[in-house]
């Protein structure tokens, strides 16, 4: 039986539902020793800002029960460098590329997108609105629905390419934010980014991260991510890119049943650099065993 694993994520056609979570996969080159990047449904690059950021001091990671905290701080060399090096290197591949976009101001997001519009190696944007927003006094863009609608609307006008908006889970009502993103013109919604957390070393009486707080990800947050995907699936009509603790085909199926059209593998890449391939194989064998010949029939198929 030929199983159709392809999905359409808001205009981005993926031959299977699996991409990587931004920031866990750089721009792919490091994983080239372990997998064929062309086997991915799409490749999502590390967040890029206009002129680059240095990121936070080390230590930048801490291990927590079934998860990790990170405070990389969106270190990146800026969009010009991304185009010149990473996106250039990706010309040797056919995998669709999603570029994750960051900014500290409304304007910065737009400038990054504008700079990427000329580049053919960009197939879609994933706009990360979890950054602190200088325009609105440091509050994260993504926690305030009117800001979300505004920034998404501005990005929308800057590009015709598929526009994925990535939400932070650190909000009271994720559906309100998702609706704002949809209203602003998002083609798809990506969730979840990391959950704000903290770890302390009782012996040294210091935080484990130099930055004190950081973002929690990994299996620990999977229940939170699944819940938000399910809530958002009921609240909006655009497709969802689900992530948070996915490391197996079964995890991916759970996200699809909750309402995700595609999924991203994050810190599982650190544990096993071939994780993405295991997830794709796991989805395929689930479909085989369960007589699913079109993976899209699983989307939102939760029975409750």
């Amino acid at each position: 039986m030929g199983i159709d694993l392809s999905v359409n994520l808001g205009g981005l056609v993926m031959k299977n539902p699996v991409t990587v979570a931004s920031g866990t996969f750089a721009a792919g080159q490091e994983y080239g020793d372990f997998i064929d990047l062309n086997e991915l449904g799409a490749l999502t690059t590390k967040g890029v800002s206009l002129n680059g950021w240095g990121g936070n001091d080390a230590p930048r990671i801490a291990e927590t029960p079934s998860g990790i905290l990170n405070s990389i701080g969106l270190q990146n060399p800026g969009v010009a460098s991304l185009k010149q090096h990473e996106l250039k290197a990706l010309e040797a591949y056919t995998v669709p590329v999603i570029v994750n976009v960051s900014g500290h101001s409304f304007d910065e997001y737009i400038k990054v997108i504008e700079s990427l519009e000329s580049c053919n190696r960009v197939d879609a944007y994933e706009v990360n609105i979890s950054c602190p927003n200088v325009d609105e006094g440091g509050m994260t863009f993504g926690t305030h629905a009117p800001s979300v609608e505004k920034i998404v609307g501005m990005c929308r006008r800057a590009t015709k390419r598929p526009l994925i908006v990535k939400l932070t889970p650190n909000v009271t009502d994720i559906t309100e934010i998702a609706r704002a993103a949809e209203a602003g013109g998002a083609d798809a919604i990506s969730l979840i980014n990391t959950v704000l957390g903290m770890a302390i070393n009782a012996q040294t009486r210091k935080p484990e991260l130099a930055r004190v707080v950081g973002g929690l990800s990994g299996p620990a947050i999977k229940p939170i991510a699944l819940r938000m995907v399910w809530q958002v699936h009921q609240a909006v009509s655009v497709p969802i890119l689900g992530m948070g603790g996915i490391s197996s085909g079964t995890d991916a199926i759970e996200f699809m049943l909750a309402g995700a059209t595609a999924v991203a593998v994050g810190i599982a890449n650190f544990i096993d650099p071939r994780s993405t391939m295991h997830v794709i194989e796991g989805i395929r064998s689930y479909c085989q065993l369960n007589g699913v010949d079109d993976v899209t029939t699983l989307i939102g198929g939760l029975q409750c």
């Binding site: 920031g23 994983y31 020793d33 372990f34 240095g54 080390a58 029960p65 990790i68 990170n70 650099p273």
Partner: protein, 259 residues
């Protein structure tokens, strides 16, 4: 750095060699055949499913064909679990990773300084220096005599007896490695100092070398997630900006490190 490989490697032996110190031998041909002194492996410890990260360990020794060994100290959950592994158990090993020690072509005499398990990544280097007939002094330190587990191995490989330091004075110099290092730097003209150990020791030796105008390389231990250069967890501040300890290091020129 050669192509990275992940292998599922059987454990050959796993023995306690000192207080909370174990030597584990693994069948890892993919590393054994390509390893360079100072490189490390990134292992997935079986049976610690609530602890999601791999653990990095320097390669201590190899037969160059199939066996590598690591010398590890029990400091937390993962290393504690490692002590329970028995021959035949398997670990996933990524490696060999990173940029190791660089021995200058014209080096005649060098100094190796290893504090605690920091001497682990120096042993393969000592072997290589021996092959290249480079005169090598070794200073190794530990808290107590019974923790000075690499002493015999170094003595069997290098010409001069290693200089040992113990915090409690139970053997060799009483105190930190910096004491004999200071003396040696004053009396011997080295072409390079190679140092690994706790960060304060590496900082101190770097300063001593700077003052003595001798180049120094250090091996940085940073918390690592991916271990292959993708996540930017392991950054070291250098005069060229932030560099990744896993693939840009772990060995750095000490004068490039911003402490």
């Amino acid at each position: 750095m050669s192509k990275l490989v992940e292998g599922i490697c059987p454990i050959i032996s796993n023995e306690e060699v000192g207080p909370r110190l174990f030597l584990m031998r693994l069948d890892a041909p993919h590393c054994a055949q390509s390893i360079e002194p100072g490189q490390f492996i990134h292992v997935s410890v079986p049976g610690i499913e609530g602890h999601v990260l791999r653990r990095p360990f320097s390669v201590y020794d190899t037969d160059g064909k199939s066996i590598i060994s690591i010398l590890y100290q029990v400091v937390g959950f993962g290393t504690d679990r490692m002590t329970e592994l028995v021959p035949g158990d398997r670990m996933s090993v990524i490696g060999a990773i990173g940029h190791g020690w660089i021995v200058p072509n014209d080096a005649h005499r060098v100094l190796l300084v290893g504090g605690g398990v920091g001497s682990a990544p120096l042993f393969l280097l000592a072997r290589k220096l021996k092959e290249q007939h480079i005169d090598t002094d070794v200073v190794i330190g530990a808290q107590t005599l019974d923790a000075l587990v690499t002493y015999e191995d170094f003595r069997n490989v290098i010409e001069h007896a290693p200089i040992a330091c113990t915090d409690d004075g139970s053997f060799g110099v009483s105190g930190f490695c910096t004491i004999p290092v200071q003396r040696l730097l004053g009396t011997t003209s080295y072409d390079m100092v190679f140092c690994c150990g706790p960060e304060p020791l590496m900082h101190a030796v770097s300063d001593q070398c700077r003052d003595a105008q001798i180049p120094c390389q250090i091996s940085m231990e940073k918390r690592m997630a991916c271990g292959i250069g993708a996540c930017l967890s392991c950054v070291v501040d250098t005069i060229h900006g932030k560099r990744r300890a896993c693939v840009d290091g772990p060995v750095f020129k000490s004068e490039e490190v911003v402490w």
